[in-house]
Symmetry: C2
Subunit: 190 residues, 2 copies
């Protein structure tokens, strides 16, 4: 059956994306063990459960030929010295790419393969990143305001969050002397 | 072989997109017979050959799983009463979608199927259009400044310009009483 065209609106400043089919909120309690400083994580969780990021999706058929659309806003903040970030994921169909377009604020895109290759890009408004097949990806807010970006990926890409939950990322992005600094992740495992 | 991540930058105001692999310029002489007022077309071409639009592409592998990226800027203007527009195309692999994101200026997105279904959307900055499989698409600048938008589509979608060159669009968008108005296209043929 013929699908009708869809119209949505993105607020580049706030990341509002309407109409959307699903608004996902990721609090610190949803990301237990993903930040490297587990004592800082526990201290924060004893008092509050901050929203790390939220993303709004337009849900389209999970089929080749379709595209999936999402707008994410990562709050500013840190757990210990490590900046607020997304969980990060590979694609279930690993030979699929993804596109990120920076809309507001500033952050870093961290990418890695399952073999341990690593790459990073600085993203701010107007920067477009092409994440090719096989690269897992995570966004990190290194600024003092919300970091908003738009994502497009193939309809049948799917998400694989589990592998990154298990292995962590090759490197972590922390504040040192007031600036973002990439450190090897002692807990990374292939 | 593992492809490396790519970084580009889009100037939302001007449509500059760098680095790009291909800048395409479409002058009126490249679109002969596509505007409905052929006398106006001839009168303009006798004096000058205006640039109707340009688009910059990042060329990626034409394969499923990849995505293609382009930024287009349509100049303001009309041929007779009909606004400057893109040639319009279907996809060579017709069961593929496309996403347009308005960045600057204002225009209309015209869509049609080969059977003659028609749909239109008004696009301005922040408006995101999802063009599903089987819908041919053309963008039209209805404003007085350049109309800039970003496009993403599947790597293996391909372009089919020929069918629209042959049939035209079901409707044309003309200025009437200072406003955009959709008219049936007398030259449309299924």
């Amino acid at each position: 059956m013929l699908m009708k065209p869809l119209q949505m609106h993105i607020n580049f400043k706030t990341g509002e994306f309407n109409p959307n089919d699903r608004t996902n909120i990721r609090k610190l309690s949803d990301m237990k063990g993903m930040f490297s400083d587990s004592r800082a994580e526990q201290q924060i969780l004893a008092k509050e459960d901050p929203i790390i990021y939220s993303f709004r999706e337009r849900v389209l058929p999970e089929e080749s030929g379709h595209l999936q659309l999402a707008v994410t806003s990562i709050n500013p903040g840190r757990i210990g010295q490590e900046y607020f970030m997304t969980k990060g994921h590979y694609h279930q169909r690993p030979d699929t790419s993804e596109v990120y377009l920076g809309l507001e604020g500033e952050g870093w895109l961290l990418m890695q393969t399952e073999k341990g290759d690593f790459a990073s890009l600085i993203i701010n408004p107007g920067v477009l990143a092409y994440i090719p097949a096989y690269w897992g990806h995570r966004m990190v807010n290194t600024g003092s305001t919300p970091f908003v970006f738009f994502a497009v990926y193939p309809g049948d890409a799917g998400h694989n969050y589990g592998d990154i939950e298990r292995t962590g990322f090759v490197r972590i992005l922390v504040e040192q002397d007031g600036r973002p600094s990439l450190l090897n992740n002692p807990r990374w495992k292939k």
